[in-house]
């Protein structure tokens, strides 16, 4: 798994700086997809509190849907995956690549391809959305720092799209 976490292709490991925004590869992290009809069942199983509302984050865990949470952290490994219980805890670390956009122009840049009203997107919020037809998981880590999780096979296209927008601002 250690090797898998160092995989960053097709995103270059070196940051790329443009006017008003820097595009960086996110630090390596584990990702767990948590699914359950009952939030309490998952909380009891993991011994953690989960956010209640879609879009909210609590610690490293974000609520993406009525029965879906995403746990992203550098070094976590749930003891049990919940076999036999009405819930699922699945390691999806390798599925996506994280890209960090930082700078005063990052929001405007994201809005070039994402239809959400990002001016009203609160810090700490995480949601699944779309960027030029590509499914992404977007979160705002601070006023000027955004994190984008994208499936590896779409990453090259998305990165090209980001750099094209950044270059032409």
């Amino acid at each position: 798994m250690a090797d898998a976490l160092l995989r960053c292709e097709p995103v270059p490991a070196a940051p790329a700086a443009y006017s008003g925004v820097t595009i960086t590869l996110a630090p390596p992290m584990r990702r767990w997809s948590l699914r359950a009809k009952s939030r309490q069942a998952l909380e009891t199983h993991l011994g953690l509190s989960l956010p209640r509302k879609i879009g909210e984050t609590l610690g490293d865990i974000a609520c993406l849907g009525p029965d879906e949470w995403l746990w992203r952290a550098v070094d976590v490994e749930p003891k049990e995956t919940g076999a036999g219980l009405p819930l699922s805890v699945v390691d999806v670390s390798e599925r996506s690549v994280g890209i960090i956009l930082e700078g005063h122009a990052a929001r405007a840049m994201l809005n070039a391809g994402c239809p959400l009203d990002l001016e009203r997107f609160a810090v700490g919020r995480m949601t699944r959305t779309i960027y030029e037809g590509v499914e992404i998981i977007l979160s705002r880590e601070s006023e000027t720092r955004w994190s984008v999780d994208v499936w590896r096979s779409f990453a090259e296209h998305l990165l090209l799209s980001f750099t094209t927008v950044a270059r032409n601002r």
């Binding site: 993406l64 849907g65 879906e68 239809p115 949601t127 699944r128 779309i130």
Partner: protein, 90 residues
């Protein structure tokens, strides 16, 4: 761009995040093998296709991922309301 209220996320989100999924409240026959070809055809292909108020299914594909139902006017393209899957017809 149309903003659609997702009953699960409980907020208005841009249309691009959603996928249309046909007419709502069409129940699959309990025992398809007892149906005549005409009845099966009616279930599979024949839809109300109204001019005006239409109950339809949508999916918040690029969001919470859930299917829900909506009432939309097919003339004005205005959404009257949206409600969770499983709730009675509005």
């Amino acid at each position: 761009m149309i903003l659609i209220h997702c009953p699960y996320c409980d907020e208005k989100r841009p249309e691009l995040e959603f996928t249309y999924a046909g007419e709502a409240h069409i129940a699959r026959p309990a025992d398809p093998s007892t149906l005549s070809d005409e009845e099966w055809e009616r279930y599979l292909f024949i839809r109300a296709n109204p001019k005006g108020r239409h109950n339809e299914r949508w999916r918040h594909s690029f969001g919470c991922g859930r299917f829900f139902n909506a009432v939309r006017d097919t003339v004005t393209d205005k959404f009257e309301t949206t409600y969770k899957a499983g709730e009675p017809r509005k």
